[in-house]
């Protein structure tokens, strides 16, 4: 480690190559929101509990508030905007809207990011298993029932279709 306050980083965000000089103390989610204008990832607690800042880093869902931007140097980051554009969870997004599995929408990007992980390799799951899987994402509005419904419906359809992506 050096004493430098800034560092050059280069990474892929939602399929685009990005390079920036960032403060070494800047969190990944602040980098995404402030430096790149990707405001779909939200800050709910900034201490790793609420899940609103969940993003995908090299294929794994992480808390954007518990990583520094410099830790994402050389990585592949996907945010809700990328997830939306790729169509990977188009079926889940549609079901969220139809089932009203969101109210204020602040938790929704993180919730979708987590659910996408569950849906990527569609295996039958009980409602309890879905609830447990989503338990790192706080939603104050819905009471979770509708979210579980939406994920269960999408999962069922994917299992029936025998495929991963929507």
């Amino acid at each position: 480690m050096t004493d430098a306050e800034t560092m050059e980083i280069a990474l892929t965000v939602n399929g685009e190559r990005v390079s920036r000089t960032v403060l070494v103390r800047r969190h990944l989610v602040d980098f995404l929101r402030i430096d790149l204008g990707l405001t779909g990832s939200h800050l709910g607690c900034e201490h790793g509990v609420c899940g609103a800042c969940s993003v995908r880093l090299d294929g794994v869902v992480v808390r954007g508030c518990l990583l520094l931007a410099v830790q994402a140097d050389g990585c592949d980051v996907v945010t809700i905007e990328g997830l939306d554009q790729s169509g990977e969870v188009a079926d889940l997004q549609q079901t969220f809207v139809a089932r009203n599995a969101l109210q204020c929408g602040f938790c929704t990007p993180g919730m979708l990011m987590t659910a996408a992980e569950l849906l990527a390799d569609p295996q039958p799951k009980t409602r309890e298993e879905i609830r447990t899987f989503l338990s790192g994402n706080y939603c104050r509005c819905t009471g979770y029932h509708a979210i579980v419904d939406a994920v269960a419906t999408t999962l069922d359809e994917r299992v029936k279709r025998g495929g991963g992506h929507g």
Binding site: L38, G44, C104, G105, C141, A146
Partner: protein
């Protein structure tokens, strides 16, 4: 009037009222394209960070800001005194509707003295939030700690520090209700059940914290505030008054709001201070509360101890209630809504579903060196319902009557309205009997009882809870805020306009926080006018764009705002039909509007699209006779005229399993039957109930702001303050019984708080039902595993 019946938005075939439609904003949110306050940036914007009191009660001997001002990037440091100097005066959080109430004057930030841990003391404005926080560490404050009042039980005792000496003591408010005859009823009763209940202090924890972006135009003197708020006009009025600006030079914009639940209907000093800084500097200022400061600066709620008893006859007839409420407020009464509503509402609604005529109640609200308490989802109802419904269950158990049966015997009959409760509140249009019947059927109550008995024999201890409730919604201007003098409008309004293309703009004073207000307002407008949903756009959350209104709180949006939309849409419909009548040489009453087209009512022949009325009404006015001057924009208001509230009612059922070795509770299933009057969008109504239930379950089982004797919050983070997550929560079945309110044509009563108001009562009853064979019971919320083991005598 003939057209009135024919244009009834719910009588028309394929009406949008009563239909599930997806929310308009949902598609943006799932794409990550919601726009919340923190997503907006302005040129030369500064970020505010606050220095907050580390002590529950301490004198500020000195503040030295010189060091903090030095680093590059820091634009300004302001102390509480400097912000106070920019204010027209302090707030006093009292209302005249609460006689004898007192509160100390309060400025946006502490001046000379801080009265709770978390009270803002100074703020730093810098180029980035991180720089502002860095500089904040260099604000040097010399403190002299003062003794603090942190326990409500001892707040009025001689040895306790008086927080505001000018008030004489720590008493905020005292109220009594006494119908008379209560002592005699207790003396003559076959059975008296009594207990003491504790309700822990908790807070809102909206996922999006309080957020504000203020910018002041020094050329025009206009202040624009983008903020996560439920009540833009109230914020406009209070901020304008406090900062000495005319109301009409303050614009409040509430963009997407990331959860609110009552905590965003209030005035917060840090937000006013951020605006003061924006005015002082002529630069935009953003303040986003971080989670840790949210825990100590958002309003708190629920801290109450209730001693209660109930008199019952052998046959299970409830004869009298006697309750004594001790409510622990914060260091100031929250301006302008006060900190006494919760206690007042407990008095109003405890035992509210039942027919007893004798009622005595006392509420004492005391000040503590803690964050101010105020209205939070279902104000007072979780407490009043928990107390009343617990005593009903206790009586049922003692008398050997089934919990459902004792409620059947005591609820007000469905044909007995209007009526007045023993506590003195007016009730109309309720349906306890139908709700009980619907719940028993839906939860398969008899079979559930058999299953409970079977499992009990195998050592599995399940409990079934039942809890009736009433819920006050839609406060009227004759009541508290209105006559009490609060700058909060209790009417609401809609301005509806026909655009040249036949599109409809519908601007409403009520606001959207994700519950679907905009969507249901659109449904009411489209149904009333007879146009497709796609041709209606609803505008809310901008004081420059909408008619004056109170915003969304107290489950009022559908009932009050919805009726205003109905009436405004009807006025526009009548004008459109009248213009069409002139153009088509037909009687307006012979015409109708269906799917955006004026038709002949009798033959249903299409005569003219609304776009044609729009085109002629705005551009080709020469086609109309000179006597016709189209307005094509109509505003209507609606308010309650003689009622304090609209009341809703319903009943919850819960099925839980208690592990008697660990004290852990598993929530197996939850049912709600509720009567919110006319249901406008069934799915959105269901989801309000579900979300509300879980918020209530959080308070009943997990959420607790834990304070030590020194007034320090010991669990002020999301790692330590437990909120309900998906794994712990049950599936929730919702049934609606519809008794339209008779106070409006729409007949909606409000649905947002019915879940929260009774979920704590039903889960406590279910847990106690499971514990019944052990002779154990719990009466303190949150109900922790530890408290269950203590009740069982295991620890």
């Amino acid at each position: 009037m003939a057209d009135k019946a024919q244009s009834s938005p719910f009588a028309r075939p394929n009406s949008y009222v009563g239909r599930t439609l997806s929310r308009t904003g949902a598609k943006r949110a799932v794409a990550g394209r919601g726009r919340y306050t923190d997503d907006f940036t302005l040129p030369r914007m500064l970020h505010a960070a606050f220095i907050r009191s580390p002590f529950a009660h301490a004198r500020i001997v000195s503040i030295d800001t010189a060091e903090a001002k030095r680093p590059p990037g820091v634009a300004l440091v302001m102390t509480g005194a400097e912000v106070a100097a920019m204010c027209t005066g302090p707030w006093v959080g009292t209302l005249t509707c609460f006689p004898g109430m007192k509160s100390a004057p309060q400025y946006p930030m502490a001046v000379g003295r801080a009265c709770w841990v978390g009270e803002p003391v100074a703020l730093v404005l810098a180029e980035t939030r991180a720089e502002a926080e860095d500089a904040a560490e260099h604000v040097k404050i010399e403190w002299r700690e003062l003794p603090a009042a942190t326990e409500k039980a001892t707040a009025l005792e001689a040895g306790t520090a008086v927080i505001h000496p000018e008030l004489g003591d720590n008493l905020a408010f005292r109220k009594t209700i006494d119908t008379g005859g209560v002592e005699a009823a207790f003396a003559a009763a076959d059975l008296v059940v009594e207990d003491t209940f504790d309700f822990g202090r908790h807070t809102g924890v909206s996922l999006e914290p309080r957020s504000l972006l203020a910018s002041y135009d020094q050329g025009t003197g206009k202040l624009t505030i983008t903020t996560s708020s439920q009540c833009p006009h109230m914020i406009q009025r209070v901020f304008a008054q406090t900062l000495g600006l005319p109301d009409h030079m303050v614009q409040i914009i509430a963009p997407d709001v990331g959860g609110s639940f009552g905590l965003k209907i209030h005035t917060y000093g840090d937000e006013v201070a951020a605006c003061a800084a924006a005015i002082r500097l002529g630069r935009p200022v953003k303040f986003i509360a971080d989670r840790l400061e949210s825990f100590v600066s958002d309003i708190h709620a629920r801290e109450n101890r209730v001693k209660a008893r109930m008199a019952v006859s052998k046959s299970g007839e409830i004869q009298a209630f006697d309750i004594d409420v001790l409510s622990g407020a914060g260091a100031y009464s929250q301006y302008p809504r006060t900190s006494v509503f919760e206690a007042n509402q407990i008095l109003n609604i405890t035992g509210g579903p039942y027919r007893h005529r004798h009622f005595k109640a006392r509420a004492t609200v005391v000040y503590l060196n803690k964050p101010p308490t105020s209205q939070y989802r279902a104000v007072g109802h979780p407490i009043g319902n928990s107390v009343g419904e617990h005593l009903v269950d206790r009586a049922a158990a003692a008398l050997g009557i089934d919990p459902v049966e004792i409620r059947r015997r005591n609820v007000m009959p469905d044909d007995g309205y209007p009526t007045v409760t023993a506590s003195g509140i007016k009730l109309k249009d309720l349906s306890h009997q139908r709700c009980i019947a619907a719940l028993v059927e839906r939860m398969n109550y008899a079979e559930l009882r058999r299953e409970q008995a079977r499992l009990r024999a195998t050592g599995i201890h399940r409990g079934i809870g039942i809890a009736c409730f009433i819920k006050g919604t839609s406060p009227g201007p004759e009541g508290y805020y209105g006559t009490g003098g609060a700058p909060i409008s209790l009417q609401d309004a809609c301005t509806i306009k026909l655009e040249p293309n036949g599109g409809i703009l519908c601007a409403v004073g009520v606001t959207e926080q994700g519950q679907g207000t905009d969507t249901i307002m659109g449904q009411i407008a489209a149904a009333t006018l007879g146009v497709p949903m796609e041709s209606v756009r609803v505008i809310s959350g901008d004081t420059d764009a909408v008619p004056y209104g109170g915003g969304t709180f107290g489950s009022r949006a559908a009932a009050i705002g919805g009726e205003a939309v109905l009436q405004a849409a009807r006025a526009l419909r009548e004008e459109v039909l009248s213009i069409a009548g002139v153009l088509l040489q037909a009687e307006p009453s012979a015409l109708d509007i269906v799917d955006g087209i004026v038709i002949d009512r009798a033959s249903e022949a299409k005569r003219m699209p609304l776009a044609e009325i729009g085109r002629i009404g705005h551009f080709q006015l020469g086609e109309l006779p000179g006597s016709v001057q189209p307005v094509l924009s109509h505003t209507r208001r609606f308010r309650l005229v003689e009622d304090l509230y609209i009341f809703t009612n319903g009943i919850h059922g819960a099925y839980v399993e208690v592990d008697t070795d660990t004290g852990f509770v598993r929530l197996l299933k939850h049912w709600v039957v509720e009567d919110c009057g006319r249901v406008i969008n069934p799915q959105l109504a269901d989801e309000q109930v579900r979300g509300g239930c879980v918020q209530g379950l959080g308070g009943a089982l997990y959420e607790h702001c834990l304070y030590d004797d020194a007034g320090q919050l010991t669990n002020g983070s999301m790692a330590d303050y437990l909120v309900p997550m998906a794994a712990e929560m049950p599936d929730i079945e919702v049934v609606h019984v519809e008794t339209p309110s008779s106070v409006s044509e729409l007949g909606a009563k409000g649905v947002g708080e019915s879940g929260t108001g009774a979920a704590p009562a039903v889960v406590m009853n279910a847990i106690n039902d499971a514990l019944l064979p052990f002779g154990a019971r719990v009466t303190a919320q949150p109900i922790t595993p530890e408290s269950i083991l203590v009740a069982l005598g295991k620890i």
